[in-house]
Amino acid sequence: MAAERAGFLTQMVEVLTSTVSFGERLNNMVHLLARHLKVDLALYFALDKAREALVLQISSAGPIPAHLRLEFGLGQGLVGETAATRKPRVVHRHQTGVLEANQALGKLHPAFHTLAAFPVADDNFMYGVLLLVDREDRAFTPAERQSVQLACLMLAGTLRQAIVQEEAKKRIAELSVLFEVGKALSSTVELEVLLERIVSTTAKVITARGAALHIQDKATGEARVSSRYGQIPSVCPALPEMLPSPGASGEPPHHEGQAVDADGRTHFCLAVPLTFKGPLTGTLGVYDKLSPAGEFLPFDPENRQLLYTMAGVVVNAIENALTYQQVEDLAERNERMVMNLTTLQEIYRALLTTVQAEKLLDMVLQGLTLEQGLGFDRALVLLVDEATLTLNGAKGARRTPALIKSSLYDALLRPLSQAIPLTDWQIPLRTDQGPLAQAVLMKRPYHWHRAQKAPGLPGPLAQKYAAREFYVVPLIVKDRATGVLMVDNHDSGRPLSTEVLGVLQMFAAQAALVLENARLYSTIEANNRELLLMRERMLESDRLAALSSLASGMAHEIRNPLVSIGGFARRIAKLVEEKSPLRGYVEVIQEEVTRLEKLLREILDFTGENLSYYGDHDLAKLIEDTLVLVQRDLKASKIEVVKDYAELPRLHCDDRQMKQVFYNLFQNALQAMPQGGNLTIRTYPLEKPDGLYEAVAITDTGGGIPLEVLHNIFNPFFSTKDYGTGLGLAIAQRIISRHYGQIEVNNEMGKGVTFIVSLPVAKYCLVKETGQRVVPASALHAPKGGGG
């Protein structure tokens, strides 16, 4: 007997320490007990997790069909009582109430007679109840009971070990999940990648078919980011709609649901909240837990717990990534700003290459419309006319596609290819004249959008210039609005961002400055021209002063010997016989000296010359009169004179001096053409910036003036072999400038020279106080003698 018992216990230990699964071991033990005690049935009822009921788990009769899964409440029937009291008990069918209380057992063993229940428990914990059933009326011997109780203790130990093991396994699983998640989260700060990893890891650790994550703004409900992984059944509600509500009996909030799809398959979903510190809120959800066989299972509380843990961990990572993304967004924005600034700087560099308003306008438009520039579809420039108080269209341009291998700078310098003419744009500067006028008047940028129903362009312009939205930015210089830039993306429909507005404003500031500079410059340039003219005149008079002093110095030196040469020649002439050949020689000396003395007088008398010889004269007649003087020389040199006189008004001039000019020029031509040639004399009216002139062009065919001496021809006392008069041209220039005229040389090497004398039709004189010219009416219309 004892040996038999020892054998049983040995077998028991063998079963419990075997390497098979825990369920298997339990099963084997129950069978062993049934066999050892020779009872019909050995049953194991396990206390459920809620610790409220005992559920039949193992039967020595074999697998338990679902309808035979007996369940006893705590205290209910023999099994329930044993669990409650934790004391073994043996009852018999005939005892009072036994049958009633344990009727359910009849399903397993209709003819049971003896029931023996043993608690499976250790010092701390109740695991379940072992029930032995037999048809015989049996009284278990103390030794048998001891054996069973021992077996139960061993069973409890095994169960505890199993539970601990299970717990440990779960903890390990959870830890490994957290490790996985942590690994995933720490490996990246890029939000998109991070979210993908979160959902995929979540799905994997929960063995769900799909997972999703959604983050939105707490206040507005506006979606911020979301991510999905795997299969998400369409019959389940979308994540934002699964905002978890607080669970029953104080459970943390979650959402659990199920739905049947068209094929009749039931889908499950589970979602928990993501709680952020900031203004965001979110949901983490999983769909369809997969069994190893691929069936869809509902999620259990453990999954929920895990999901909570995950949610807690990922929140921080997401927050970090969001912050990082914001920082990155800022960095990106900075980078764009730098790029924009570079673009602006490049444009500005190009703008500095010119001060011509027209070119600048083109460049400004290029800058706005070039793809490498600010890239607007259309850009218009309108400028304020302060005289008429209107905003007038200057020019517009369309977007120009980027040319290959062309830098912005180079592209800017090219002429405008897609200009929009704006000549008919004229907007009165009143507040009721739409956004353009308002931008000028308020000195503020304006963002017009059709959707706002704000007044747009006035009347006919609106029809011509269809736009969905546009920006108007005033051009402001020194707190004064000088015009506007107007841009849109009409053709491409790209929206106009506030960032673009910032860049546009910076651009406008530059454009305003350079356009204003150009305006100022053109004024300065006009003034400069005036100044230059004055300066030329001054220089001229300087040169004349130099001429004067040089000439007078020279003249005086010459005058003394001339006086003695001439004087003695006269004396000789008196002594020489009338018939003597010497008489002629002496007369030549006398005449030559007289001519020279006359020339000296002319030169020296320029000083302090008054205008007493001024009158109104016909230019052609003056030329003709002078030609008479050189007629003989022209003929002798075989020079043909070609005349082309235009019908011109009379000139107010000193006729003697003008004749001197022409005489000198003719002398010049004569000397240039000793072998003959053509002398062409042409008169014509000439329009100059400061008024109407009459011009005389005297062209010879003498081969031209060598370049090296060309700049010297008007210098007094300069002479060449070919153009030898020296003083002749200087005197001519002096006389002409006294008439406020100009003399120019057109030199054609190898052909000849053209001297162009231009004289103002109007007698104008410099009024010293104002520097303005006064034009007497008589000079413009039919002149009536005298004047000056």
Partner: protein, 117 residues
Amino acid sequence: MKKILVADDEMAIRLLYSEELKEEGYEVYLAANGREALEIVDKIPLDLVILDIKMPEMDGIEALRQIKERRPDLPVLLSTAYGEYRQDFATWASDEYLVKSSDLEDLKSVVKRYLKD
């Protein structure tokens, strides 16, 4: 015989003037500068002086001033190659201002006018 002093630094001019004036019947004294001219003015009871302006040592304008100091009654003609000294008020003290010319008829007629009696 009327006595005329010709002061000119150019020997040729002095020669020409003296020949022409002698021919007209005057007694001619010659000086090469203002200082020499003054010496003669002090020694000789002259009737007329012809002064060049640009001369070394003492120019005609200074000589004119000193002559007019000593003998305010003595006619002094300026005969010069320079027209512009006409503007110099110092020359206004002279009785005539003549620009030199190889034709001495003008000069001779002016001299004649002063020495009529």
